[in-house]
């Protein structure tokens, strides 16, 4: 975690510094950053002006371990002025600045490998060792990046292929759309014409009490269904809350309200009491009552299937085209009780013969009508109209699907190289909806990238959504490596006594797409760390390469 701490050499710290009182021996430019060196020269009168120009002091007062200047510039090398910084040359390694608070505090700062932050003799010069270690680490990181960036380029080529595929898909769907549009227009034209003929009649039929009642039923059913859905959602929410209460409450028996709520819920769900004696002995807190819970799940499963059937039936009921139904109804009511075989003969004919049959039928029927054997032309036309309507509706549906397909492809194409989605080079596209898992013992955490994060209890029980993909790092400039070092998943299942669950997923360059750690730093707010080759920029690209993208400074790389 903190390699620089581990590297701390045995600290002569807290041993008395060697020189007595203010050592006059400190060079005037000790601790001065290279860009300011030129300003640390005495005037001809052996005076010196504070860098902010506020004060002129004796040249001897520079680095005399006493803060004279308001801006603290007279003490670059002693730490006497709070809020200033100290420059370590670190010859053999990389020069760096440290805060004045760390100068002459008895600790050898690893950032200051030349030991210049402490009085001489306190800290050894470790720049060679630290520099070597740094370069070795850098080399390892570069190696990792080189390997990782190869995988990353395969992601990029995937994105390119994907782009091509999408573009082709768009082209072909566009062609298909134009065909389908024509078809829709043609059918629409027919329907319009037939319907304009029968419009008045249809209007009249729509006055039928049965039809109006049907509409009312439909409306009531729709409403009921949405109410039902809302109450199911609320029930699930309350169930989650109570599950959370049951698992999370303190076994504070003196609070009867909590205990009653838990016991009541266990009663409803048929669960064993979570803190039943024996269950807690020798720490088996997690698993009690799970078997039974499983059994309940089965019962619930049956219920769910019923629910599913009902949903399907409802869907069908609500999707019915009422006008067609009305016409169908008309036809049905007006048909003779024993349907003439003539009218139903199509059911017995092979499909190939139907067109001929229809032609024949048409002429026979019209003949019969003329003769007066068979009644009513209106019925015939209404039945045709209804069939055409069905064809139209089917054609419209296919058009809609194709258009949607096209829109989706266009959308995907847009996201593909959108900085805010799959990156400028589309390097993340390959990982779209890829699910990573991490087993932490009690739970398995799952992140389906760009989709949703979940927490799945290993010993059975409810899976919680930890949130849907919300954004990349909001604190960083889109497109920068730092931007892609963090993903937010938000608005997961609400905690019963806390916020909606959420995830911050911290990513660094690595050869695998994987979750490394999971930690709940605050209630219901999870911090995950992980790696992905998509973050491995080719060596030489990006600010500092590996790591949480550009946030690190040289000293942390040590």
């Amino acid at each position: 975690m903190l390699p620089w701490l581990l590297l701390l050499v045995p600290i002569p710290a807290l041993l008395a510094p060697t020189p007595a009182l203010a050592g006059p021996g400190i060079p005037k430019t000790h601790g001065v950053a290279p860009n300011l060196l030129s300003r640390y020269t005495p005037s001809s009168k052996s005076t010196w002006k504070c860098l902010d120009g506020s004060k002129e002091i004796a040249w001897s007062a520079v680095n005399d371990d006493y803060c004279d200047c308001l801006d603290g510039s007279d003490e670059p090398g002693t730490g006497a002025c709070p809020g200033t910084s100290f420059y370590c040359k670190n010859e053999g390694h990389i020069g760096t600045s440290i805060p004045a608070t760390r100068v002459n505090d008895g600790l050898c700062e690893v950032e200051c490998c030349d030991g210049s932050d402490e009085k001489s003799g306190v800290c050894p010069n470790l720049c060679k060792e630290i520099g070597d270690a740094y370069r070795q680490k850098l080399e390892e990181e570069n190696k990792l990046r080189r390997k990782g960036s190869k995988i990353r380029s395969s992601y990029i080529s995937f994105a390119k292929k994907e782009k091509k595929r999408l573009e082709e898909s768009i082209t072909s769907t566009l062609a298909e759309i134009s065909v389908r549009e024509k078809e829709v227009a043609r059918l629409q034209d027919i329907v319009d014409r037939t319907e304009s003929l029968s419009a008045a009649a249809l209007e009249h039929k729509k006055q039928s009490p049965l039809y109006t009642s049907l509409l009312a039923h439909h409306e009531a059913l729709t409403h009921l269904r949405s109410l039902h859905a809302a109450s199911l959602a609320r029930e699930a929410e309350l169930g989650n809350i109570l599950d959370g209460l049951r698992r999370g409450y303190n076994p504070n028996y003196q609070d009867m309200a909590v205990l009653e709520a838990v016991r009541g819920w266990e009663g409803v769900k048929g669960l064993k009491h979570i803190y039943d004696e024996g269950g807690l002995k020798d720490g088996e807190e997690g698993g009690e009552g799970e078997v039974k819970e499983g059994e309940v799940k089965v019962a619930e499963g049956e219920e769910e299937r019923d629910e599913e059937t009902m949903e399907k039936e409802l869907d069908m009921l609500l999707d019915v085209d009422h006008v067609s139904l009305l016409l169908e109804h008309e036809r049905h009511v007006n048909a003779p009780v024993e349907e003439s075989i003539l009218f139903d003969i199509t059911s017995y004919l092979p499909d190939t013969l139907i067109p001929q049959y229809l032609t024949v039928k048409e002429s026979i029927v019209s003949l019969l009508q003329k003769v007066g054997v068979v009644r009513g032309a209106v019925d015939g036309s209404s039945s045709d109209a209804s069939r055409t309507r069905e064809l139209l509706s089917a054609a419209q549906h296919s058009l809609k699907l194709t258009t949607e397909e096209k829109d989706k492809a266009e959308e995907d194409l847009k996201d593909l190289f959108d900085e805010r989605w799959f990156g400028k080079e589309g390097e993340w596209k390959k990982l779209d909806k890829v699910c990573l898992e991490k087993d932490t013992g009690d739970y398995t955490y799952e992140v389906c990238l760009f989709e949703e994060a979940r927490q799945k209890p290993n010993s059975g029980g409810q899976t919680f959504s930890l949130g849907k993909f919300h954004s990349w790092n909001e604190d960083a400039e889109p497109g920068t490596p730092a931007y892609y070092s963090k993903q937010h998943y938000r608005q997961g299942t609400k905690c019963w006594n806390g916020p909606n669950r959420s995830v911050v997923f911290l990513l660094t360059c690595g050869l695998e797409n994987e979750i490394l750690s999971v930690v709940e730093l605050e209630k219901c707010e999870y911090q995950l760390t992980g790696t992905s080759p998509a973050l491995c920029l080719p060596v030489g690209e990006g600010t500092t390469g590996v790591g949480t993208g550009g946030m690190k400074t040289a000293k942390e790389e040590l």
Binding site: P19, L21, D65, E285, G441, N497, E522
Partner: protein
């Protein structure tokens, strides 16, 4: 830390707009406590018959035995109510004039608990061999004091104890005739004519026929033999044994002390005309969930010490009793106070501290129970806590963020979640796989860790600590006296070590060793000597117990019931842990052990905090009063959780809370599991920088705090000093508890505890000496001139400003170089701030040592007095001299600090520009600058003149004189 789920449940079930609520019904009121009802009823009968009321207790003069060589006598006492029952009285005058009055039943059916004082006292007090008792016909009396100003009189009939000073009554015991020691009796089987079940709260009342004692005891035997509260029944096998005593202060109009509760320092009334509170103050250590910011209710700790104060005298009462106690306070007149103390069990053992000044009272109390010892220096730094830092890596990254932001911190804390299944000492390896490495990472920057160890032991076969305690048979027993008491706490089914059992002591101390134990028992190998300890939940808190604590009929060592020892229970746990932490290293080091529960004497074992406060402005304010009250009662190393334990304080509140915390002796930020993280580095600007500056201010003033603790360790005077302590004759200050002084540094602070404040009115006290009526703003050197009658001034206090003044006449030593932690400041130079008084004088002292060992007891320390005085008409002479015991010169510590210098001397309030500034020795002219401004001896207010002397080139540990001409 406490019940995490309750607030949420309340929210869920009742849809309260706020999730914060006290469940007052979990705790008894006086009306729900049998003996308290009896005690209050007794007072009511006495009040109703005020003219005709006489105490039935009297001394039998024929039994008086006066010790020949010391100031002690014994005598028999009888009660006219029960002529057959015998009581014994024992009165002593200690060497320092403290009077101890003891009374117990003699030859009774059972024995009353008489060991409370032995746990509280640091040693058996020395009885005066000079003071003599003189027996008369009606009384026995002793006169003492340098001017024979004190007289203590024990009147025989009725029994009455009076302490007088210069003929004026100071303290009177049984002056109202409310003394009543219920003797042990056997339960009579159904003598009752009628039994009434009832009373709303399940009180049980038995009415007897024609009771000749009814005028005193009442008609009924109210809750004598058992008592039910909510779902718990207290079996009370010993029957009634309560003790009532009235203690009056006929010439003192203010009383302080008897912590801990959330109310003002100057205790409001609970009885008499228009009382502020209607229930008596209660002393019964209790884990009160989301306690109210103003209430007479008992909290986590109890110290039965009360100061009574008037402009010409301060006295105190220490009532050494460990059972549940209720205290009624009233002021019959503005300048008098009556109190009644009703306790459930135990002997009468009252110490009367004669004063007559606040510092005398502190010294007398310290002689009895000990002063708070010098703490480890690092313990005065900033403590960062949270329930919970969830892993070793979490701790590392919190430390990293502090360092990246250059915000100082000394200690990282771990709450209960580090422990696997809350089995304390046992790390949850999943999240804390490398605890010792984590500690070493923290130590690398000079820091420490504090890890929690609670008293509830999980009853689990794979928990060695429980197993060993069980094998040693040192666990508290249930009411039948057999087996192990079992209750519920964080760890589920748990048992509690009975620290009254001496067999538990060495075993417990051994647990904290970081090396393998010879006896093969458990020791904490996964820790280092830089890990210190937090003892929480030691009231004890028991989730399924009556009033969230242990049933009173549980059995402790020696067969005593829990009711007899309840208020001491938490102190013993703290005591033993403190000894354990100190003695695990060789040579021993100063331990840091934080406790939530405490009793008289707990100050010897470590710090306390005010428990689970709420993140509200009210709680921020009352936290200050509570810390002051705890200090008055000896627990001076005290603080309240910065930010509030519950809730998510807005940034403004958090900043103000840091300002409060920076001026608390114990400075810790803590937060509940359900709260958002709020470490200072998470704040946005400007809040982050403001908090960094506050923390740096605290660190710069560590020399002031350490010196104040050092003084307190010698004198018993608290580190935070309320006005009545500093200015005992200034009546306007007697009720002030929102501003206070830090040690004897001269620093006066009034933290802002309200929203949206930009300026604050600060009271400048009347000064009896009449020379120091000038105060300086610490940050701007603005001079405020006081007035002989006391005066309020307006001090700027925008969010980044804390109203902090230096009293003219003080010299304050600071270290102005910010560091990451306090040990890294060890060799940093000092700045002296000389704030002149009107006559051009000032002084202050500075104490330093290695900060963690006991080497200072061998003279290894630096203790300087800095004095500024007139040099000629306008000049000033500033000198440094040794205050330590002679013969220490050149001690090891002093030598090790040779290189540490005074880098700067700032003199504010000079009358004019000096002509020269020289070191007296050698006459070397020093560099200096002078900003003209208002002088201390003038009448004007405004920015004071400032003389800055650069690097006088003197070490902090040596004698020197700087002459300003």
């Amino acid at each position: 830390m406490r019940l995490s789920s309750l607030s949420g449940v309340l929210l869920l079930l009742t849809c309260l707009p706020s999730a914060l609520a006290l469940k007052a019904g979990d705790f008894k009121t006086c009306a729900q406590s049998g003996f308290c009802r009896r005690g209050r009823a007794l007072a009511e009968r006495a009040n109703a018959n005020a003219g005709a009321w006489t105490s039935p207790y009297s001394v039998d003069p024929s039994t008086l035995v006066i010790a020949p060589h010391e100031a002690q006598f014994t005598a028999g006492v009888k009660s006219s109510l029960y002529p057959d029952i015998k009581f014994g009285l024992d009165v002593r005058v200690h060497k320092d004039g403290v009077v101890r009055v003891r009374m117990d039943e003699v030859g009774g059916l059972r024995k009353r608990y008489d060991e409370a004082a032995s746990w509280a006292l640091i040693q058996q007090p020395e009885i005066s061999s000079e003071i003599r008792w003189t027996a008369g016909k009606k009384d026995v009396r002793a006169v003492y004091g340098r001017k024979k100003e004190f007289e203590v009189v024990i009147t025989f009939e009725p029994l009455r104890v009076t302490l007088l000073r210069n003929g004026k009554e100071q303290v009177v015991l049984n002056g109202q005739g409310l003394l009543h020691m219920e003797h042990f009796r056997t339960k009579e089987e159904t003598p009752a004519t009628a039994q009434v079940e009832g009373g709303e709260e399940g009180e049980q009342v038995v009415i007897k026929a024609e009771n000749p004692r009814a005028w005193f005891e009442g008609e009924s035997e109210d809750a004598y033999w058992d008592e039910t509260f909510l779902s718990w029944t207290d079996s009370k096998p010993k029957g009634p044994e309560s003790l009532s005593l009235d203690i009056n202060f006929p010439n003192h109009g203010h009383v302080y002390g008897i912590p801990q509760r959330a109310t003002h320092l100057d205790l409001p009334t609970t009885t008499g005309e228009n009382p502020t509170f209607t229930d008596p103050y209660r002393l019964y250590n209790a884990d009160v969930f989301e306690y109210l910011a103003s209430s007479p209710m008992s909290l986590y700790g109890s110290i039965p010490l009360m100061h009574a104060h008037s402009p010409d005298s301060t006295v105190a009462i220490f009532n050494a009793i460990a059972s549940e106690t209720w205290i009624d306070v009233s002021h019959p007149t503005r300048s008098s106070t009556n109190t009644q103390w009703v306790s459930e069990s135990g002997i009468l053992d009252v110490f009367i501290l004669p004063g007559p000044t606040p510092s005398d009272v502190f010294a007398q109390y310290a002689t009895l129970t000990g002063a708070a010892p010098l703490p480890a220096h690092w313990a005065l730094g900033y403590h960062q806590c949270r329930w919970n830092y969830v892993s070793t890596d979490d701790v590392r990254s919190v430390q990293k963020r502090f360092d990246e932001e250059d915000i100082p911190v000394d200690v990282f804390w771990l709450d209960i979640e580090y422990a696997e299944e809350h089995k304390y000492f046992i790390w949850d390896r999943k999240n804390f796989p490398d605890p010792v490495d984590m500690m070493k990472d923290v130590e690398a920057v000079g820091r420490k860790m504090v890890v929690i160890v609670d008293p509830h032991l999980k009853r689990s076969s794979n928990y060695p600590v429980y197993q060993e305690a069980s094998e040693l048979n040192v666990l508290v027993k249930p009411k039948n006296g057999e087996g192990e008491y079992e209750g519920w706490c964080w760890s589920g089914s748990s048992s509690w070590v009975d620290f009254f059992n001496p067999n538990s002591w060495d075993w417990w101390k051994g647990l904290f060793k970081t090396t393998v134990r010879d006896d093969g028992k458990f020791s904490w190998l996964d820790s280092t000597e830089n890990v210190h300890v937090w003892n929480d939940m030691n009231e004890p808190s028991i989730f399924n117990g009556p009033e969230i604590t242990m049933p009173k009929d549980s059995i402790h060592y020696g067969g005593w019931e829990h009711r007899d020892v309840h208020n001491i229970n938490g102190m013993l746990f703290h005591n033993l842990t403190s000894q354990a932490v100190s003695t695990r290293s060789d040579p021993p080091k100063r331990p840091f052990v934080l406790t939530r529960s405490f009793y008289a004497g707990s100050q010897r074992f470590g710090a306390m905090w005010t428990g689970d406060n709420l993140g509200t402005w009210d709680h921020m304010a009352v936290g200050i009063y509570m810390v002051l009250a705890n200090g008055v009662a000896g627990m001076t190393f005290a603080g309240s959780d910065v930010g509030g334990f519950f809730g998510n304080p807005e940034p403004e509140m958090l900043v103000r809370w840091y300002q409060v915390g920076a001026f608390n002796p114990f400075f810790r930020a803590h937060a509940h599991l359900d709260t958002k993280r709020r470490e200072p580095f998470l704040l946005d600007e400007p809040y982050k920088s403001i908090v960094r500056d506050i923390l740096r201010l605290r660190y710069s003033m560590l020399p002031v705090w350490y010196t104040a603790f050092h003084e307190g360790s010698l004198t018993g005077v608290p580190v935070l000093r309320p006005h009545y302590v500093m200015f005992p004759q200034d009546e306007a200050g007697f009720s002030i508890d929102d501003q206070y002084f830090v040690g004897s540094s001269g620093l006066l602070v009034k933290p802002v505890v309200q929203k949206g404040v930009t300026e604050t009115s600060v009271y400048l006290p009347e000064d009896q000496v009449g020379i120091a009526l000038v105060y300086y703003n610490y940050f701007t050197n603005y001079i405020y001139t006081g007035s002989a009658k006391g005066k309020n001034v307006t001090v700027p206090s925008a969010l980044h400003q804390t109203p902090l003044l230096i009293r003219g006449g003080s010299i304050v030593s600071t270290r102005e170089r910010p560091r990451r932690s306090s040990p890294l400041m060890k060799y940093d130079p000092f700045t002296l701030r000389v704030a002149l008084d009107k006559s051009g004088n000032a002084k202050g002292d500075l104490y330093l040592d290695d900060g963690e060992t006991y080497d200072y007891q061998q003279g290894n320390y630096i203790w300087r007095e800095f004095v500024a005085g007139k040099n000629g008409k306008k000049g000033v002479k500033i000198s440094s001299k040794d205050l330590g015991i002679a013969g220490r010169a050149g001690n090891e510590f002093e030598m090790s600090m040779e290189s540490v210098r005074v880098e700067k001397i700032v003199v504010v309030g000079l009358g004019g520009k000096p002509t020269s500034v020289k070191l007296e020795a050698g006459g070397k002219e020093l560099e200096w600058t002078y900003e003209p401004g208002v002088a201390a001896d003038g009448k004007k207010e405004g920015e004071g003149s400032v003389l800055v002397i650069k690097d006088p080139g003197v070490g902090v540990g040596i004698d020197w004189v700087v002459v300003v001409s």
